[in-house]
């Protein structure tokens, strides 16, 4: 080949490599900018007052998001109570009992559920719970988030159980242990870290969901004393404050967003700690 052609080919390769590198930079850039603005605009407003006080009425400055922060934890707890048992057992079926054909169908259905816009869950739970109960409630919000969690937990459990070597199961069966005991005590235990990781990631995901809560948990400017009352949540409060025309609310929206991000990061940090030093479990 002529030298000219070789130079040309090398130059093309270099240029395209550079373009790919720039693509990667452009993809990371929004993340950097979002974190920068969150800290610049939110950090000064996150103080003890913000974390421990109720919102003030319109027109008064100050107040905080204490009820929304607690509300988010309540909703995520409800979601875990609904999503984890169903998802875990469903995932166990896929990995330990299922047939290839049924598993294919379950996986497809789970992917469809994962791809369903969360606002759709919002109005479905509205029709299912809010209308019969004649009002928004923490139950409805928790249910919406829990239903969103189910397919996530099914897929992650199945994936993690598949990593458990078959010899473990065979060893248990050879000892005459009933299959369900071998699954619960040996297979689940082996995959435990990975499953907890998956559940934490699912929690982080639903903790940031706003759309399914708009019409189910609704919102609340005060503490809710009863799970059948509307309950405040952090994402919902951020949304309300972000689109409101008051400067003090905007300031608090940034502060709330920073707190929400920190909670999400805390979940992922939990994941990091759990997966440290293990290569079978963890988010790849």
């Amino acid at each position: 080949m002529k030298p000219f052609q070789n130079h040309w080919r090398k130059a093309t390769s270099a240029v395209i490599s550079a373009i790919c590198f720039l693509c990667a930079l452009m993809v990371i850039l929004p993340l950097a900018l979002i974190l920068f603005h969150l800290i610049r605009l939110g950090a000064s407003s996150v103080d003890w007052n913000f974390l421990t006080h109720l919102p003030k009425p319109v027109g008064e400055t100050g107040g905080g998001m204490a009820n929304a922060i607690v509300g988010s934890f309540v909703l995520v707890t409800l979601a875990v109570l609904i999503g984890v048992p169903v998802g875990l057992l469903g995932g166990i079926y896929l990995s330990e009992f299922g047939s290839p054909r049924l598993n294919w169908a379950v996986r497809l259905a789970a992917d469809i559920l994962n791809g369903t816009p969360s606002i759709v869950w919002g109005i479905v739970v509205y029709a299912l719970v809010v209308v019969p109960m004649k009002g928004a409630s923490a139950y409805a919000g928790g249910l919406a988030l829990g239903l969103i969690m189910i397919p996530l937990v099914v897929r992650t459990t199945e994936g993690m159980l598949a990593l458990v070597p078959n010899s473990y199961r065979e060893a248990a069966l050879a000892l005459g242990i009933p299959k369900w005991k071998s699954v619960v005590h040996i297979v689940l235990k082996t995959a435990g870290k990975g499953i907890v990781t998956g559940v934490l990631l699912a929690c982080a995901r639903v903790a940031g969901e706003t759309a399914p809560l708009l019409f189910t948990a609704s919102g609340n400017q005060f503490w809710s004393h009863n799970l059948s009352e509307p309950i405040a949540s952090l994402p919902r409060q951020i949304y309300t404050y972000a689109i409101a025309p008051y400067d003090d609310w905007k300031r608090q929206a940034w502060a709330g967003a920073l707190v929400l991000i920190l909670i999400t990061v805390a979940f992922s940090a939990g994941v990091r700690v759990l997966t440290r030093g293990s290569n079978t479990a963890g988010a790849r």
Partner: protein, 319 residues
Amino acid sequence: MIAATAQRKVVLAPPSKAGDAFFKFLTWGMAMMVFVLVALLGWELFQGSKISLQQFGWRFLIHDWDPGNGNFGALPFIFGTFVSSLLGLMIALPLSLGTAIYLTELAPRWLRRPALSLIEMLAAIPSVILGLWGIYVLVPWLRDHPYPLLQKALAWLPVFRGHIYGQSFLSAAVIIAIMIVPIITSMAREVFRAVPDSQREAAFALGATRWEVTWLAVLKGSRRGMFGAAMLGLGRALGETMAVTMVIGNSTDISASLFAPGSTLASAIANQFSEAVDDTYRSALFELGLVLLLVTIVTNILAHLLVGAVSAPQDAFNA
């Protein structure tokens, strides 16, 4: 000694089958919940939209949205959903493929994992925070700097004419692009990683440059997977709600200009559901949900069929 132990007969009762049968049934029931939920979604939305289905029929899909006169149609929202999602995909796809190529083929090994973690972090940012950042940082900047330049350069295209609003289809598309880049990137990365190294080595051995190796050994065989990754991104884009609601402007008009405000199916539900007091209005919003569900199901099934073979189950979380 040995003979003695061998002679002692130890009779253990065989393990009970009842526990196993119960356990299998229980887990089966929970696995079936996944189908129940799909059916529940469809059924509740169908029930909710009954009034609207009866009153407007198929006309609903090609009619304007006029709640003031009790006339409902999904056309502006279907239009808005597809314009913003496809535009978002057009922005996100090249960036994601470039990033995925960089991560699998070009980047030094020590950089790959941290870079991937950053992309996963972007995926983990809640939609409402992206929306907040969108309203107060991204949209004002887009409106003041890139949009006028774009209009000046491409004024001969009707889609870039007209008054420049910050909250617009184009802003929604940019936000959508930011949201779907991580999904497409991580799917495309899985696809590229599934290509055996021996193929790359063969291409290198023939004297190919780095780009030629990527093109011949990796990209050419991954078309199907890349298409699947794009579909997965599109599915996510179609249903994106909060961030889009916050930056699209929520107008129910259909405009040819990308600088004009609009609405999507999801943003219309989020924005109008609590105002809808009469039954027809609410029913029409449920029907928007039904349309949205059907569109995303079709996209997701396509994506599932296209990337099913290469995707690991954990990828449910890259969403």
